[in-house]
């Protein structure tokens, strides 16, 4: 199939002859421009989708990937430009129309209903009917078939809310498959998946390709794109920077096109002085309802000027540990000492005042108030500092906000702008700014680089570095091996709520971290700890 499509000269005529590679095209977006209030999201973009191939779309946050994808899926309508499907111009007014044309989409934020079982999710709005009633048995049977095909058999009657994120991803794929898609758009499908689940997903993608399904694939994990992609389009600032065959390019080339500068400058670690003990945690326990622990007797220390990384698989208890430290779970037990003084108050407010602040993993949903402005969001945790005699000083507030916007190079044209008008990466920076404005001594970041692009990652590292150089302590969790090895001075590995390894940076290797993170996950399920 691969060969015939390339060598068929008639089919290549579909292209308008601009920047396009030889290939059989199923869908083409021509001269797409999309204007949002305050931003030009897409600027005369041409995007080609080749039949039966994985068409990768890369770009930084705010480059316009999500917008382009939504236009292809009919969720958004372009301000200018046209979509050409199989040589015919098409217009989608909503997602249902595009799905009638065989275009399916799997969103980064999975659009599943947690309160409904798997099979109802898969057939939602497309119920199999028998007369007037829903044919439950048929739906369940087809769901079983689909899950079987995806090699993830699950009970179709399980509520989606009870599934792990990775399993939910499988359900989302099954939902798309149930609609007999010709073109499947996947937005960051692996961001919540474990390594094994990614392998399964890639196998599914290859299987779909063989059946002639064309994939549009969006991801921040560049290594992954090189493995799975066939064609690649790079977006930057709403414009197409380059289009290429994946086999013709390498990682530095992609990054250069994405960022417009070289990779070497992005991951530099400056030396910082590690000093005395700043934070000591003793026997921190957070019980799981129904037995066991989310956080199982964890003890650790953090020094001034130190970047301490916590590595672990999903569900290892990293997030819960951080939440306990920030004061989100008053029922957690154990002792926390900041500067050798015991922290007694379980209140989040007290801990922020004392200098411990958490940047949560799900920054958009847990970190931001969508109805407030950029400025109000940023100062939400530090309003005390702009208040005298109970009255807010807008002048002081604006001054600090503008300074933070500059420091973090947040793209915003007015601090009073609604936070929802910002791109994802910039919204994340606002959350970080909110944390920094509390003047923390211990900066706790859960997955600081999740779902953000290379340049924003580099900004995050810079912030962590700066804090460490100023003598503050940084505690961060990640599931990205390369990042933790590049950034952390010391690495703790967690598994099943316990600390299963501690490494100095010099001694840490990927293998050692992975081994430690798998403790207790042995092939023999004893239920206990290893």
């Amino acid at each position: 199939m691969l060969d015939t499509s390339y060598s068929n000269p008639e089919r290549t005529l579909i292209t308008a002859g601009e920047i396009s590679l030889n290939g059989d095209m199923i869908l083409r977006a021509e001269h797409i421009t999309k204007v949002f209030p305050g931003t030009l999201a897409l600027d005369d973009v041409n995007f080609n989708t080749y039949r039966g191939k994985v068409n990768v779309l890369v770009g930084e946050n705010g480059a316009g990937k999500s917008t382009l994808m939504k236009i292809l899926a009919g969720v958004e309508q372009p301000t200018h430009g046209a979509l050409i499907l199989e040589g015919q111009p098409v217009k989608f007014h909503d997602a249902l129309e595009s799905s009638a044309h065989g275009i399916g989409i799997i969103y980064q934020e999975l659009d599943l209903f947690p309160n409904l079982p798997i099979y109802e999710n898969i057939f939602i709005a497309r119920e199999v009917k028998q007369g007037l009633s829903v044919d439950k048995r048929e739906e369940i049977r087809r769901t079983n078939d689909l899950l079987e095909r995806l090699e993830h058999p699950m009970d179709p009657k399980t509520l989606v809310g009870d599934l792990r994120l990775g399993q939910q991803q499988i359900v989302a794929i099954a939902k798309a498959l149930a609609q007999n898609v010709r073109i499947l758009i996947m937005d960051e499908p692996t961001s919540a998946l474990s390594q094994t689940e990614v392998t399964v997903l890639f196998r599914i993608i290859n299987e779909l390709k063989e059946r002639g399904v064309s994939i549009i694939y969006i991801s921040h994990k560049l290594e992954e794109l090189l493995t799975i992609g066939d064609f690649l389009t790079v977006l930057r600032d709403g414009k197409v920077q380059a289009e290429a065959r994946v086999s013709d390019v390498d990682l530095p080339w992609i990054i250069e096109k994405m960022v417009g500068r070289n990779l070497a400058a992005l991951f530099t670690k400056q030396e910082h002085q590690i000093g005395s003990e700043l934070l000591r945690v003793e026997n921190l326990c957070f019980p799981r309802p129904g037995g066991g622990y989310y956080v199982d007797h964890v003890s650790c220390t953090l020094h001034t000027g130190e970047i301490l990384g916590i590595y672990g698989l999903m569900g290892a208890g990293r997030t819960e540990l951080f939440e306990c430290l920030s004061g989100l779970h008053p029922e957690a037990t154990g002792n926390i000492f900041l500067n050798k003084a015991k922290i007694t108050s379980p209140e989040i407010e007290e801990r922020i005042k004392k200098g411990m602040v958490l940047i949560p993993e799900d920054r958009q949903r847990v970190g931001l108030v969508p109805t407030l402005s950029v400025s109000s969001n940023m100062t939400l945790a530090s309003l005390r500092k702009f208040t005298s005699r109970g009255v807010l000083s807008f002048k002081d507030e604006l001054f600090e906000v503008v300074r933070m916007i500059k420091d973090l190079s947040i793209k915003v044209y007015n601090p009073q702008q609604s936070i929802t008008a910002l791109s994802g990466g910039n919204q994340q920076k606002v959350v970080v700014g909110k944390g920094l404005l509390t003047k923390p001594k211990v900066f706790i970041m859960d997955e600081p680089t999740r779902g953000i692009d290379v340049a924003a990652k580099s900004d995050m590292f810079q912030i962590m570095n700066d804090l460490a150089m100023q003598g503050f302590g940084v505690l961060f969790a990640t599931s990205e091996l390369k990042e933790i090895l590049a950034m952390a001075d010391r690495i703790l590995v967690m598994s099943k709520g316990q600390i299963t390894g501690e490494f100095k940076r010099e001694d840490a290797t990927e293998e050692a971290l992975v081994t430690a993170s798998a403790v207790g996950h042995g092939p023999i399920r004893t239920g206990g700890q290893a």
């Binding site: 204007v35 949002f36 209030p37 305050g38 931003t39 030009l40 600027d43 301000t79 920030s326 989100l328 209140e347 989040i348 407010e349 801990r351 922020i352 005042k353 958490l358 949560p360 949903r365 847990v366 970190g367 931001l368 108030v369 969508p370 109805t371 407030l372 109000s376 939400l380 945790a381 309003l383 005390r384 208040t387 109970g390 009255v391 807010l392 604006l398 503008v402 916007i405 500059k406 793209k411 915003v412 044209y413 007015n414 601090p415 909110k434 509390t438």
Partner: protein
């Protein structure tokens, strides 16, 4: 202040005809945002032409007096709705606080164990009635934050309970003629509802004071910001170190306080307290807040908007009375206006995007 952090501009500098276009679109936006206010002005103009005496200072003052009760209730309701809740108990609190005042004026506080009856001065009676209102609000807040009962249900419960207590206080009967007796020293209650300060009724002054204080609290204090944050995203608010439970508790206490003020004004205007007074006032207060642009899903709303909303409802009601529209039709029209206003509110979001688009291109 904002020019230095402008995003890099694309395209050429706007020339003068484009500037005109820009001004025009921003005018459209302004008109959209101020639509409730414009509706109010149009209503006033309409009634001024169709109804004699409508623009008389006296009838205007009477109208403002009518509006003041709903406006004060709606101010408290705005806090609650912005924080993502709802308070159905305010109407019943109006009745209960009126009855508390009536009971204390008419019968005094009977202490059987000492065999005495204590009569309070009016300012103390007012204070006690206000405390009762705040307490009902505190119960609401406590049930919602501690027992995790949905605001709708919690305040529905207190609505029934408060109404029941109001009825119990005098076996369902009215306390009439609450003028007090000079020899006991509890006269002066009618002043709240009927008194004047520099030619303007006390009730209107109370509305102005409530409006100013509430405006200040919502816009200029951390507490106000916290209320908006909780309504917009409670989890984010909690993680930012906001004491969500305490703030929510305060919000319902504010609403209870406002309802108590309303109850005192009602009882004082009638110089009598009736256990059924205030029935369905909560719905008028919600209507005023929503008309004024407060979002029922929380996080959005302003005191100014709520006041305008209360005026629209009040002017419409009194204007129709003066025109001689039947009671029944008045109710129908009120319902249509409220739904229409919210429908326009939903439409505005889309129009705003379109207008902003034009601005972008222009």
């Amino acid at each position: 202040m904002t020019t230095e952090i402008l995003q890099p501009q694309r395209g050429a500098e706007p020339s003068s005809p484009e500037k005109v276009k820009k001004q025009r679109t921003s005018l459209t936006l302004l008109l959209l945002k101020a639509r409730t206010f414009i509706a109010l002005i149009l209503l006033v103009i309409f009634f001024a032409f169709t109804t004699p005496y409508f623009l008389n200072p006296e009838s205007l003052i009477i109208m403002a007096k009518h509006i003041s009760i709903n406006a004060i209730l709606a101010i408290g309701m705005t806090f609650v709705i912005v924080a993502g809740g709802i308070d159905l108990s305010v109407g019943a609190v109006v009745g209960l606080c009126g009855m508390v005042a009536g009971l204390l004026i008419d019968r005094g506080l009977i202490l059987p164990m000492f065999g005495v009856v204590v009569f309070f001065r009016i300012w103390m009676i007012v204070l006690i009635a206000l405390i009762v209102g705040v307490l009902v609000g505190a119960v609401n807040g406590w049930v919602i934050t501690r027992l995790r009962v949905a605001p709708f249900i919690a305040t529905l419960g207190t609505m029934y309970a408060a109404r029941g207590l109001a009825l119990l206080s005098n076996n369902g009967a009215t306390f009439p003629n609450l003028v007090g007796e000079p020899n006991i020293g509890n006269e002066g209650f009618p002043w709240i509802g009927g008194g004047m300060i520099i030619g303007i009724p006390v009730a209107i002054w109370l509305m102005i004071a409530a409006g100013l204080i509430a405006w200040f609290v919502t816009t200029r204090t951390p507490f106000g910001r916290h209320v908006y944050a909780i309504g917009g995203n409670e989890r984010a608010a909690r993680l930012s170190g906001i004491r969500v439970n305490r703030t929510t508790l305060f919000v319902y206490m504010i609403s209870g306080f406002c309802a108590a003020v309303g109850g005192l004004i009602v009882a004082s205007q009638l110089i009598a307290s009736h256990p059924a007074s205030g029935t369905s006032f909560e719905l008028n207060a919600i209507a005023a807040a929503v008309l004024g642009g407060t979002s029922l899903s929380g996080g959005r709303g302003t005191i100014g908007g709520t006041l305008v909303g209360a005026f629209v409802i009040g002017v419409l009601a009194d204007g129709m009375v003066m025109m001689g529209v039947s009671d029944f039709w008045q109710t129908v029209i009120k319902g249509v206006v409220i739904v229409l206003a919210v429908a326009i509110d939903q439409f505005q979001a889309r129009l705003q995007t379109v207008a902003a688009l034009q601005q972008e291109r222009g």
